[in-house]
């Protein structure tokens, strides 16, 4: 008789079944339908649509702006999370609540607000444009909107991890003669890096899919500031459903590959010092030298 592993909480089978059904209904079914629809086109046709000049430019703008926005948030989000965890200051709870606002605000409202601010006659735009920086209605406007939208992802991913760092570890580094900077670079940063990668990946994924805020600030010039989601919408408006689906499938594939790469990297950095063989084996091999 096979030994049945005993679990403290019952219902593993039920929970797993539920999870699989849930994920299938919510994610696999719609995406599968999309791929099925795209398969009405031949592989060659999909490639043709994806490699057209306008599509290529849109991919470049979408992924490029998302990457820049995620990088900006990776840096500044880390600072915000650090300050919010480590230092007490008046109004800290208020600032903490502010971080979540981009989650709650309708993205179109965010887009319109940012466009108004950065337009040539806006509060910020009127000082920036004379300096030669045009933000609204350029690809840089897209970066600004995406940075705004994705800020919470990095901050909220990092906060619990920074809270978990024992102050003893920093004190140990200081007592060994490390400067503040050395302590940060050699001790603290490696500890939060996996979480930073996760936050970065989440922000990047969200930015790639963002539509509402971008279209109000981007100017939407084909080849210059047109994002792929907008191109998909405009194809749909011309009843080119197959063309839209082809773009969607390519975008899905690209996003999946990028996220998978980030996840593998994140998994590797988080686990490289946890695996290997169990200690007892090593101890036995060393002849019980302990």
């Amino acid at each position: 008789m096979a030994a049945k592993t005993h679990r403290v909480l019952p219902g593993f089978g039920l929970a797993l079944g539920y999870t699989l059904v849930y994920l299938s209904l919510l994610i696999l079914l719609p995406l599968g339908g999309m791929i099925l629809k795209a398969s009405e086109l031949g592989f060659g046709q999909i490639v043709d649509i994806a490699l057209s000049e306008r599509s290529l430019a849109a991919f470049r703008v979408t992924f490029g702006a998302s990457l820049i926005a995620a990088l900006i948030n990776g840096f500044f989000g880390l600072i915000v999370a650090w300050i919010l965890v480590r230092y007490p200051f008046p109004g800290k709870r208020f600032v903490d609540a502010l971080v979540d606002l981009p989650f709650a605000l309708p993205t179109a409202v965010a887009g319109i607000t940012l466009a108004t601010l950065y337009a040539g006659n806006g509060w910020l735009g009127r000082y920036i444009e004379p300096l030669g920086f045009k933000v609204a209605y350029t690809p840089w406007g897209i970066v600004v909107a995406l940075t705004f939208i994705t800020l919470p992802f990095v901050v909220r991913t990092l906060q619990p991890v920074i809270e978990d760092i024992e102050t003893e570890v920093e004190e140990a580094a200081a007592s060994l003669g490390a400067s503040r900077w050395q302590t940060f670079v050699k001790v603290i940063f490696p500890a939060i890096f996996p979480a930073l990668l996760t936050g970065f990946a989440l922000a990047f994924a969200r930015a790639v899919g963002e539509y509402g805020s971008v279209i109000f600030i981007a100017g939407n010039l084909p080849l210059i500031s047109e994002i792929t989601p907008l191109l998909i919408i405009s194809k749909l408006e011309q009843y080119d459903v197959l063309g839209a689906t082809a773009l969607a499938v390519v975008m899905l594939g690209l996003s999946f590959i990028l996220l998978l790469a980030v996840n593998v990297l994140q998994w590797w950095t988080a686990n490289r010092h946890k695996n290997n063989e169990p200690l007892e084996v090593t101890a036995a091999r060393a002849g019980g030298a302990a």
């Binding site: 024992e166 004190e171 140990a172 580094a173 010092h273 200690l279 090593t282």
Partner: protein, 355 residues
Amino acid sequence: MSIEIRNISKRFGNFVALDNINLDIPTGELVALLGPSGCGKTTLLRIIAGMESADQGEILFSGAEATHLHARDRNVGFVFQHYALFRHMTVFENVAFGLRVKPRKERPSDAEIKRRVMELLGLVQLDWLADRYPSQLSGGQRQRIALARALAVEPKVLLLDEPFGALDTKVRKELRRWLRRLHDEMHISSVFVTHDQEEALEVADRVVVMNHGKIEQIGSPDEVYSAPASPFVYQFLGNVNVFHSRVQGGYAEVERHEVSEKTTAFVRPHDIDIALQPLEDGLQATVQHVHPIGPLVRIELQHNSEIVEVELSRERHEALQLVVGQAVWFRPRQMRVFGADQLPRSTPEKQAFLF
């Protein structure tokens, strides 16, 4: 390097953690700060290390002012109760950390770092684990690595905060002996914090007993155990029987001089004799419980309404063959009496226990 602690006080809000502490730690000595939790011993250690700042007073290292020196400039090795190893670094890199963060001019070459780290790992007998990560080690191994890491920068002072507190009894005993040996080989001053009296008495050259932010007694392990300076020290170091009423009411010396001072007598459980026949100056009692504990047998006697704890050797117990409910006589061999002001009273040994 000697450490001098002058009038150090520290408060956390309304809580007085340290109240005007004065302590000298000469070079080469291994000192234990012993006390119950919350007595301020860890705070004192952290102030010596520069991780906490005192509200008042000063710290001198080898006679030089060090009160406001940053932790990284104090040349102090610190070992934490929960190891505080760098989880993402191998054992080798953990030990090498202190050498690698030195300013470029003082930093040893890679080959020199490798030699020194392997030497230290050899010293803690864990050189075969150099490529492992801390999560793959046992508690005892982690603490030895933490010690090697602290020793890598050749500190003048080694500070240990409950270093063996998180380990099981057997490992703890082994590491104690090993720490003592290491301390003697390295010729440094060491201060370690503990709440375990056995640990303090076994390892230290000198024991500093603390309570409520104050030093109760400083002395050799033998002094603090056999001549406690206060009732607190008596009760904290080992088991003790406390006799209030009898000393106050029936104590011959007190009555004879018509002094109505309230005193308390302390008797260690192993300082009490038990006999089956009536003893001169002895008291009668009934045996309540008999617990054999390892090499000792602990007997609980009931005298009037009070419980008296007695520890007998196995041989003595076998000779007596005590059973529960039996009537016996007991008499203390030695005792110590404290007055209401908590200061010891000298008492003629023989007459001290006349009832």
